[in-house]
């Protein structure tokens, strides 16, 4: 097939897709964000409400499920696109608001801007997302269509220029794809930042005929959901990236490894693969050329370690997900012992954009060493939780204060945890670090897969370090000595510290063990597991000291070092809310009518403190765990 025919074939396909989409756009569309977090917030109920209201009114409007719109803090979300009006996004939807939007906007002509978050298209009436600080800093590459496209229909993807990169690539030599990816200096988004082009080239140069392309969708870091969102919301972008990679390295079979906890992503990707096959974009003779490549989904079985490349491959071969010592690297001996390219979901997602828009376009964003964008899931004590995409080189401060709109109601920033269990906690003084692979590494954290958790004065750094160690210890595969036993001892020491046990020598032992586990472990899970400990020791040493030297948890978190106390002057006497909230009947009414806590019965569940009405705010935590009376006695 010659080049002209190939491109014509694609243009025809695109035109057809465009027409089918256009027919749709002539009526009003309601797009509901139904990625996993939307669903959890009640998106399906909202969808039903819209359908019912639209039917009741007999309106011509279609309700479509889309993926992640990115503004998780305001879920459930919907976008209404009515011909003649800018598309408008609404958040925090409930039955009442749905009713009103259908009546006033869909049936009437009032877009109800008072309930709108932002418009999506430039207009004279209402600001768009770009007009907010978040929009100023954000630059969407791989999230461009997330939440705006109907993931169930390949036509939506094609009409937006999807698979154009594939047609373009197939009309050129495979070397063209490799050169562009190398020229773009696309670095792997799985965490380590290894140049994708180099990896592909090594695989290509391996003489074998049988080669594999695998997408690592085993996103296991707690606090990270970027890969899930991309797979759920724009699956074809990843699929196209994988086909392009396969074309570049000469592979005919690929796999998407998706973790067990993401059933929806599996469903969406399977459907997308089916539709791509039907269109002749996957399978034999892609777009009529003599290049063939097919894809299958492999579902993980719930083991964090399988995010490690060699463990993932073992797991695909029907074995325990145990990492192997490298070399040989996967590009030499990977799946079934054959050369294999394994990249993260996001890495593949950039490829179609680089091929269709060019390496220079990609490099015009970000820094010279880390071009492109970084995708973060922004969670924790921050106003605008959600999925954000910013150019590499944006500082942490900009990301937290501007994009994330800072911390809620005057809370004080304490630390930001980046890169999950393999990453580190950075303090205020590190906030001006630019976000790129190398700068973060220097600061002691890693880019990791992009989970970013903001912490405030109520978060205890020892407890946070302990949390991550508990996680890695639980997820350690157990193969090698340092990770299996080293993380266990580190966890035990941290547990002791949260109980106020130990001394400065304990802290020294913790540091030594951390360094040895880092240097001695077999794979990157073990080697990076000490990062949360080492960074908190480095930046928050005083907090560790307060625990071991004074038996005090400054953030009032460690439960062995606090007690709950009802402040007599603040207690209303007349209110019984705390008594009712207590699951262990630890709260009683004193003879004088004030409430008090029986410390022996109290399980420190925090119910009473949450239950006590704001106007009283009488329940407080004390650390070290001494009642004021005791303290006074001691003082005397």
């Amino acid at each position: 097939m010659n080049k002209t025919d190939l491109l014509k074939r694609y243009e025809d396909m695109k035109e057809e897709a465009r027409q089918s989409i256009q027919a749709r756009q002539e009526k009003s569309l309601v797009l509901i964000g139904t990625a996993t977090c939307g669903l959890a917030a009640g998106a399906m109920q909202v969808k039903e409400d819209f359908i019912r209201e639209i039917e009741t009114k007999g309106l011509e409007a279609e309700v479509i499920e889309v993926g992640c719109i990115g503004h998780c803090y305001a879920e459930p979300l919907a976008i209404i696109a009515k011909p003649g009006y800018p598309a408008v996004c609404y958040g925090n939807l409930d039955e009442g608001l749905v009713h009103r939007l259908v009546e006033d906007f869909l049936a009437g002509d009032d877009p109800s801007y008072e309930y709108a978050m932002a418009a999506l298209d430039r207009n004279d009436e209402f600001p768009t997302f770009e007009d907010f600080p978040r929009g100023v800093y954000e630059e969407k590459m791989i999230l461009e269509h997330c939440g705006l496209t109907d993931f169930k229909k390949i036509e939506s993807y094609i009409a937006n220029g999807g698979y154009e990169a594939l047609a373009k690539a197939l009309s050129e030599d495979p070397g063209f794809v490799l050169e562009e990816v190398k020229e773009a200096n696309l670095r792997g988004r799985g965490g380590a930042g290894f140049p994708a082009g180099k990896k592909w080239e090594a695989c290509l140069n391996n003489g074998e005929n049988e080669k594999y392309v695998i997408c690592n969708g085993d996103e296991g870091d707690p606090g990270a959901f970027m890969d899930r969102s991309v797979l759920e919301s724009d699956p074809h972008l990843v699929i196209e990236g994988m086909i392009l990679c396969a074309y570049a390295v000469g592979s005919h079979q690929g796999y998407l490894y998706i973790r067990a906890e993401y059933p929806r992503a599996v469903e969406h990707v399977r459907e997308a693969i089916k539709q791509a096959r039907e269109k002749g974009l996957l399978g034999s003779s892609i777009l009529g050329t003599d290049f063939s490549f097919d894809l299958e989904v492999f579902q993980g079985s719930g083991a964090f370690i399988c995010g490690e490349a060699t463990a993932l491959v073992n797991s695909m071969e029907g074995k325990m997900g145990m990492p192997e010592s490298r070399p040989p690297r996967l590009v030499e001996q990977g799946f079934r012992g054959k050369p294999t390219v394994l990249n993260n979901v996001k890495t593949f997602a950039y490829v179609p954009l680089i091929i269709s828009r060019g390496a220079d376009w990609f490099k015009s964003t970000g820094t010279s060493e880390s071009p492109g964008t970084a995708v973060f899931s922004l969670v924790g004590k921050i106003n605008n939780t959600g999925l954000v995409e910013v150019p590499m080189g944006t500082t942490l401060r900009q990301l937290i204060e501007e994009v994330g709109d800072g911390l809620p109601n005057g809370r004080e920033f304490k630390a930001v945890q980046i890169g999950g269990p393999s990453g580190g906690c950075l303090p205020e003084s590190s906030l001006d670090v630019p976000i790129d692979f190398d700068s973060l590494h220097e600061a002691g954290a890693i880019m990791g897969s992009g989970g970013l958790v903001v912490m405030d004065q109520d978060d205890c750094m020892v407890s946070v370090a302990r949390y991550f160690l508990e996680f890695t210890q639980h997820e350690s595969c157990g193969k090698c000595t340092f990770c299996r036993l080293g993380t266990k001892h580190m966890l035990d020491i941290l547990t002791d510290i949260t109980r106020g046990e130990g001394d400065l020598e304990t802290l020294e032992l913790l540091k030594e063990l951390s360094e040895d586990v880092r240097d001695g472990s077999l794979c990157n899970l073990g080697r990076t597991a000490p990062n949360p400990v080492l960074t908190t020791l480095r930046y928050f040493y005083d907090e560790y000291r307060a625990h071991v030297e004074e038996g005090r948890c400054p953030a009032l978190v460690c439960r062995d070092l606090i007690l709950y106390y009802i402040k007599p002057p603040k207690c209303s006497k007349l209110c019984n809310v705390c008594v009712g909230s207590c699951p262990t009947e630890a709260i009683y009414t004193r003879e004088d009518g004030l409430k008090a806590i029986d410390q022996d019965k109290c399980v420190k569940c925090d119910n009473c403190r949450k239950a006590c009405p704001d106007e009283y705010d009488a329940v407080i935590k004390l650390s070290p765990p001494e009642l004021p009376a005791e303290k006074e006695r001691k003082a005397k």
Binding site: T36, C37, L39, A40, A41, C72, Y73, E75, E219, G220, D221, P222, G223, A224, F225, R228, A260, E261, Y262, F298, Q299, G300, S301, G302, A303, F304, S315, M316, E317, G318, K319, M320, G321, S377, V379, G380, K381, T385, G386, Q417, G420, G451, V453, M455, D459, V464, Y467, F468, F471, E475, C477, S581, P583, V603, C605, D606, N607, K610, A611
Partner: protein, 182 residues
């Protein structure tokens, strides 16, 4: 050890046979086969693992090794209602551990256990990826966000209400979140 009830043995054998028939018999298919069998039976009975090992020509010790290695596989029947408490970073920081403890206290079991009457099972999960709705709990595959200790009581009430009738006696594993057989 768990005693199989009447008819369960036949059910297990039929299920394994069916799944093996749908997959090519290679070691590589071990995980998908285990997943499919568990999806149908709710857990991996010893008998099923034995038959799968035979069918795929894999040492039974390796099938057992795999089933005990991955979080997803369970060797005991799940409860009628499965509650998974997310302990991802965001959930942990917003009190996920307190939520888990509340469930443990109310169900009178510990995490990764099934209540003796097989009405509940309780698990912790690493992260379900809904961090902006933390703390999150998954009740019978439905994700619930912003679960306060009081909401735990509400969830328990709903699950308790489903106790009437002869449940627990005959249904057990089949009615868990994994059920696909109607």
């Amino acid at each position: 050890m768990l005693q199989l009830k009447e008819g369960e043995k036949e059910e297990i054998l039929a299920c394994v046979k069916e799944v093996l028939g749908e997959n090519s018999k290679t070691h590589e298919n071990l995980i998908p086969v285990l997943q499919q069998v568990q999806k149908k039976l709710g857990y991996l009975p010893v008998l099923a693992m034995e038959k799968i090992a035979e069918g795929l020509d894999v040492p039974a010790a390796d099938v057992f090794g795999l089933a005990t290695f991955y979080n997803q596989f369970r060797l005991n029947p799940p409860g009628k209602h499965e509650v998974k408490v997310c302990l991802g970073t965001a959930c942990y920081m917003t009190g996920g551990d307190i939520t888990l403890e509340s469930f443990e206290r109310r169900m009178e079991i510990k995490e990764s256990e099934t209540s003796p009457d097989r009405h509940y099972s309780l698990e912790r999960v690493a992260c379900v990826g809904c961090c902006s709705l933390a703390p999150v709990v998954v009740v019978d595959d439905q994700v619930e966000g912003k679960v306060t200790p009081t909401r735990v009581d509400g969830i328990m009430l709903e699950l308790e209400a489903d106790r009437d009738g002869p449940a627990g006696e005959e249904s057990g594993p089949k009615e868990g979140g994994n059920s696909e057989q109607d």
